[in-house]
Subunit: 673 residues, 2 copies
Amino acid sequence: MDTKTQEIVQAGINTVRVLAADAVQKANSGHPGTPMSLAPMGHVLWTSAMRYNAKSPHWPNRDRFILSAGHACMLQYAYLYLTGYEDITMDDIKQFRQLHSKTAGHPEYGLLAGIEVTTGPLGQGFAHGVGMAIGQQYLASRYNKPGYDIFDYRIYAICSDGDLMEGVSAEAASLAGHLKLGNIIYLYDDNHISIEGDTAIAFNEDVAKRFEAYGWHVQVLPDGNDIAAIQDALEKAKAETTRPSLIKVRTHIAYGSPNKVDTAGAHGAPLGADEVKLVKQGFGFDPEVSFYVADDVLQYYHEAGSRGAKDEAAWNELYAKWKAAFPDLAKEYETLAAGNLPDGWKDKLPTYKVADNPKGVATRKASGETLNAIADALPTLIGGSADLAPSTDTNLKKYPSFNFDNHGGRNFHFGIREHAMGAALNGMALTKGIIPFGATFLMFSEYMRPPIRLAAIMKIRPLFVYTHDSIGLGEDGTTHQPIEQLAALRVIPNITVIRPADANETAQAWRVALEHKDGPVVLVFTRQNLAVIDQDKYAKATNLEKGAYILADADKTPDVILMATGSEVDLIVKAQEKLKAEGIGARIVSFPSWELFEKQDAAYKESVFPKNVRKRLAVEAGASMGWHKWVTDEGDTITVDRFGESAPAEQIFAEFGFTVDNVVKKAKALLGK
Amino acid sequence: MDTKTQEIVQAGINTVRVLAADAVQKANSGHPGTPMSLAPMGHVLWTSAMRYNAKSPHWPNRDRFILSAGHACMLQYAYLYLTGYEDITMDDIKQFRQLHSKTAGHPEYGLLAGIEVTTGPLGQGFAHGVGMAIGQQYLASRYNKPGYDIFDYRIYAICSDGDLMEGVSAEAASLAGHLKLGNIIYLYDDNHISIEGDTAIAFNEDVAKRFEAYGWHVQVLPDGNDIAAIQDALEKAKAETTRPSLIKVRTHIAYGSPNKVDTAGAHGAPLGADEVKLVKQGFGFDPEVSFYVADDVLQYYHEAGSRGAKDEAAWNELYAKWKAAFPDLAKEYETLAAGNLPDGWKDKLPTYKVADNPKGVATRKASGETLNAIADALPTLIGGSADLAPSTDTNLKKYPSFNFDNHGGRNFHFGIREHAMGAALNGMALTKGIIPFGATFLMFSEYMRPPIRLAAIMKIRPLFVYTHDSIGLGEDGTTHQPIEQLAALRVIPNITVIRPADANETAQAWRVALEHKDGPVVLVFTRQNLAVIDQDKYAKATNLEKGAYILADADKTPDVILMATGSEVDLIVKAQEKLKAEGIGARIVSFPSWELFEKQDAAYKESVFPKNVRKRLAVEAGASMGWHKWVTDEGDTITVDRFGESAPAEQIFAEFGFTVDNVVKKAKALLGK
């Protein structure tokens, strides 16, 4: 590098620092210190290490960058702007953290091209990256052919001490080490500062040794301003293809700020107008000018940002040849990457008849049969469980496991790491073409709510499969019996929760989930057998797509509406008969999904729940919260607002009032009988 | 040990194995394999390592035992029975996993003396133990005096590969290593088997190296049947007083089962009647006899279980002398350990006047002031935050930090480890006398729901402090703005959520929380300033204890009831005035806690929300779920059922309809105006 270039590089790095200080100052809110310390690292990533084309941010084989330390987002916004991403302008940077701007307080997927994943809640970016690395490896295994390395991109991230303190990153790191995800390259910003002060007040473990214990390739750099060392370490990390890489880099928060460097004060608050001036003076910038970028700096980064154009052109050529050589595979990939599904897959969905299933079918079992029935038709439907596959019935029986020695397998052993599983599923869902699912007991959705929420924010579509969905789980007892989990999931915006009533609704739930596009879908299944609802006598299970539908009506205007979800639908089916025998006309409504029903038009809603029929009873083995809306002031619920019991399921159901007789009794009580 | 004793010991260990196999078989459900492999470890713990007196299970200075691998609970039930805990009989063991039995499917605190903590969700027992170790150390720091080691007990646990895969244990282990909690001794059951098969399919990290990286003292034992080696390792662990200890023990699941040993099949299902017989034959037991305990075995364990009687007697003597020497300290401890609070503490609660606070007060700030005002009066009120103390305002300013070099400090730096913080708070709350609190942003309650739920199940009372409680958090944006969190917390059984409306309600919220006894309390505070409600003009904030109360009424029967919580109460206060000017009579209700209100009698409830006033509007910057019940079919809500925005708070509130004008408009709409 000649002297002139060296000067431009240093000016460029300092430009990023000053832009961060300026933007935070103007917003009067934000995190200036971290972008200032990370600017050299970012420089190496965006000018040499990463393969991307700023003018084509969606190129499928681009390297992915994740700012796990999302609060440092001005770093990413600055480099996206400087390297020429067209989606961001200097005006956007000036609008940092303002209403409806692209430059949100933490990076948001979908707001701005170049943001690969929404980050902010610490640990999530780190763990989502593991899923993105899995996604790349699966694409490579399925679509790469000798001479055609269509997918060989890497996953880069910058993470902070906070990311590494969070349990989700520990789980994800252990999983990534186990799986030998050599396509991961993470930089750890070891700045010794957290909000409460020196990280030593809470965090003095040996991070490098810990990551070696996970099976990672670890490098330690003493100086975060040493560009050559960072570059060298990144090259070594690229050369390491069987272990994920962690590069621990000692940095100094708010580098360049004479009074705030190495202090917690620079973490989450503006430096102050005077201090920003001192920063500028220190770097030889005009202290009176804000948001300044020298022409040669901009040109330098624009060139760096378009380096990848030739890579992309070469890739396009390779892709065209690959497509010609493997037209079926290419069609498959393009269909799936566009978010569509191959023709005919729905024909594989199983159906169930009462006569063939006299003892009923657990919906987890019907789910397993559905998954296996459609697995051949959906080659990128991949997933697994958090060490509960035999219980969740999520094994794709014809296919091998995705493990360290086979990145083309379809069954994942996530280990007893529900939180990392959730984040990994999101990362996989962010990989266009991949349809990921992950399973555990409904109770353990509690361990994975942060990634579920991020999926909802990003409107991506991982499939969360939860079995053992109620007190019907039985003997494992209180700690394992979900009570409040259905409500706690339903309340998340953009989510779709489906709790099917029998085997046929289960197959339909998978259909709806796979066709769903905007947001995560939660599928909720029973441990215990449920009677198959007679498709000749009652309304068809295909109605599940409407969220709620009349299974069977009263002969005249109903006296009462009985509604239920999942395992409790059988109770209202039987109660309807008993009530009829007593001269009471009940409409019965299967209500597998509140969210799907909310999407129906007013006329349909009125047709199911007419305003003039207000004697309504909801039956669900879960918390009552939220049901009031559906049963109205004149209705009632049979629900569970206390913790469960350890006992055989039938006994618990009876103890908690989930019997046909109790449904009949409550329905009659509503009618004053 | 003589030959005869050796024989009894071996028979005893095998008795535990057979009891476990029998109980699981009779229940036709459960986990036989782990108790069978852990029986020797349990033997050493209950016969020599641990200091306890089976006849006095609540002796304050007993060693604590945690079965983090809660599914192995038959191990614990067997040893509690054999060592003579009077709370459990052989009939209880025969009732394993049956309705209302003490021997639940996982160990439940409160059901059975000797169970120190409810376990089952993996990782939690491990992390709760860290809190219990903190509790012991704080008690020792405060109450031990030279020559009076009143509290010197240890925390023992058995944990499984599942416990060690969970992120919460990683966080807790890092914290424990950092804090140098030398009173922790954990045994790791390294049995190589999980539900999906060999743990190597998901977990091949170097656990010992990882724990060394955390600063733990690690020992590795190759043979889980080698009693002498286990005993020796436990003694070495006791000798290590500055580092927590992990003893990794290679075991064989279902040891003694000829066809199931070392297989996943022995993990979570009965062995089968024939296999149980083979187990008995292999151990020289009569295959036709179930639940058999030889007299000499029972006698041996009874003696072991009463070893501690002399320790307890000596301790009682020491305690009496200590009490005589330090009567004030003893009174303090006994008051707090009984769950009571010292006289006069309530007099310290601050009050706020409008005139003194013209700009209002953020409830997080009022909370900080309250905490500091009462800190002197409540010497075991200890807590901290997950690296957000300056933001959550939870620092006890006069007191030092609890850190590795000071276990008497009162301010905790939990690090960016919300999940471990939650579990540690529970462990601290399980330490009689300690009143723990922990703080983070409301959003990050999502990272700590599993321990919140366990606190609710156990009905223990940690205090969870959550600030930045709504979209009012502002610029940090979508990922940090709570929407569904209030509802998702309220729906947990046994929980009490309080969201005070101003500084005075905040002080009262702390009062109610500290007086609360059965279950966790969640305190929800704002980032932004809130107007102080004039205590001369409106109803007194002491009414907060009722959950909801009339702040101010209409002059006659109200046309409409406006209700709100927290920061939104100010909107209904102002709306009431505007409506009055338009001739509309509104009752305004401050509604800080649904759960406290639900506990009031019917007459009080009717007095606040009369059945005949059904035009009601609820205003809360959170999800609408659950509000329908309070506003009735004829009411409406101003709530948030979408994700937030990154922008200054005032702009977001306006964008989402939280303005006085919108409240007025919606209220009038209800009245058809």
